[in-house]
Symmetry: C2
Subunit: 329 residues, 2 copies
């Protein structure tokens, strides 16, 4: 009798992941949507959460009778982690790394667009109006990066390469850091914020970061400084941000993430001057879907071979604390 093939469940919407042919020869792959996920999870040892916006995994959890490993096609795991999963022995891995360089470029692009007043230029162009203005140099301007994961690090490196000075805030202070020089603790945010021309949020959403950027933080910012959020909407207290923007307390905000996504059509952020709203796309460059599958495939091979997996999430912390760990411990 042949050994039973590994069962892999894949939670996806209409669009299945590309490049799955090889894995389909190695495992029984069950593609499921939210409704069919419980059936697909029965007997499955692994789950690929391709539809990373879905919250269907928690609902299907009672059907997870053999699950050992779950991989999510995103960097943030805030939508995925629910108490039963955190308390279980199921190993969770994420897509750390895939979004680093794209998001770093996106942040630098936003900063340069702000410094060079590109939004005004495009607005004047629509009116066929030639109006010369003076703009800002980012050379020597100061960025405060909130979040010292791989996205924050790639962002810090690129901003430095572009001539900016960069300070970082992480969970714990470190005097020596390969990317940032020094990393400051979250408690020091108040002291660091007044010097920043740009406050860049790249942190994961955890209990520690939820609501971290609030009225108090905005009150400390320069009136010319901009907030750039490519992390998660709930790290910023949206009502406080709206007040800071409307009262001119801060220069502006470039936001790629929101409390509610898609941002509702009647939301005031759409129409505020000095606000850039983008649809949670900062990390999604041409080829990102294949890159996500390539990373999953590498982990699948490691898992099959009993080797340490990449990007194992510390489920109680809510992010990847180390590069490698084993799902077979």
């Amino acid at each position: 009798m042949a050994a039973a093939r590994t069962v892999l469940a894949v939670l996806c919407d209409q669009q299945r992941p590309p490049d799955m042919q090889r894995i389909e020869t190695l495992a029984e792959v069950r593609y499921a949507d939210a409704a069919s996920l419980p059936a697909a999870m029965r007997g499955a040892e692994a789950l690929l959460v391709w539809d990373f916006l879905s919250t269907a995994v928690a609902d299907a959890w009672p059907a997870a009778d053999r699950l050992r490993w779950m991989h999510i096609a995103s960097a943030g795991v805030d939508r995925l982690l629910f108490p039963e999963l955190v308390d279980s022995s199921v190993v969770v891995t994420n897509s750390r790394g895939v979004f680093d360089r794209p998001i770093a470029e996106y942040v630098l692009g936003l900063i340069l667009a702000i410094a060079k007043d590109l939004g005004t230029t495009l607005g004047l162009q629509r009116q066929r109006t030639w109006r010369h203005r003076e703009t800002r140099c980012v050379d020597g301007e100061h960025a405060l990066v909130v979040g010292t994961g791989s996205i924050g690090r790639a962002t810090g490196r690129l901003l430095r390469a572009a001539g900016m000075t960069v300070t970082a805030v992480g969970r714990t202070a470190r005097s020596q850091d390969p990317d940032f020089g020094a990393v400051h603790a979250s408690e020091d945010l108040d002291e660091l914020i007044p010097a920043a021309d740009y406050v860049i949020v790249t942190a994961p959403l955890t209990d520690s970061t939820r609501g971290m950027l609030d009225a108090h933080a905005f009150a400390g910012m320069k009136s010319s400084a901009w907030l750039v959020n490519v992390g998660r909407g709930a790290i910023v207290v949206e009502a406080d941000l709206l007040h800071a923007l409307e009262s001119g307390q801060i220069g502006g905000a470039a936001l790629d993430v929101f409390d509610e996504e898609p941002l509702p059509p009647d939301h005031p952020l759409w129409a505020l001057p000095n606000v850039v709203v983008s649809p949670h796309m900062s990390g999604d460059v041409v080829g990102w879907l294949r890159a996500l599958v390539a990373l999953f495939t590498e982990n699948f091979d490691r898992w099959q071979a009993g080797e340490p997996l990449r990007n194992v999430v510390d489920k109680s912390a809510g992010f990847v604390a180390t590069g490698c760990s084993s799902a077979h411990e």
Copy 2:
């Protein structure tokens, strides 16, 4: 009898240069507009062309009876050089250096805005429309910089720092170059253009560069590639560019300079999709006027002391060929 004070004429519009107090103690400074320039130039040994868009110097030339040195508050001298000045012994210096870093940042900002599709994002925001798209990474994309003066060099260095590969085209080929590795000759443009994702024009307008980017050049470009012009409008054959844009032969164009400036309100470039029109502002950051006067003041002191001037223009070439030369030779 006291020695006669040096006479400095300053061609300016309504707005006089800032920070002139010290020079006013050292020289008799005559501020003039186009109409009063001939009278101001009679007896003047030096002329500061502060209104660098003006062509009044040629008209006032017959009055230049004692002129030895002329400094212009811009990098390009194409508007200034007229045959009688070129043939004269009057030394011309320019503002090389002041615009290097600002323009390099501006070019990188445009490239990232193009790669990240920021114009579409801002357009969708006005419609309160959430529409996720995939964008491009500039990491590994290829920029061809046309012009190896100080602006082209600063641009090349910054694009490289941001992860792009960069090739340069200059007057003459050089196998070893501190900023670009190799510099290719203008004659090789045809061979280099097909590999470029961005063709960046930073060159001065001279007899050699006029009309350099023409139908033939656009025909060689990738259909996804963008032209970025921060040099001079006449380096590009505008009719050919319009055809290339309208026929989809190239991806788009970001233009800061034009044949006619301000760009006339009825000009078709204002309204073409995939065109960014900006009002000749790429180098003009907060503080640029003071930086221009600081450079002029340094040269004024050198001139008074009989020392070599900075940024002496090779009048027959149309740009600064070396860093220093003497106005007293």
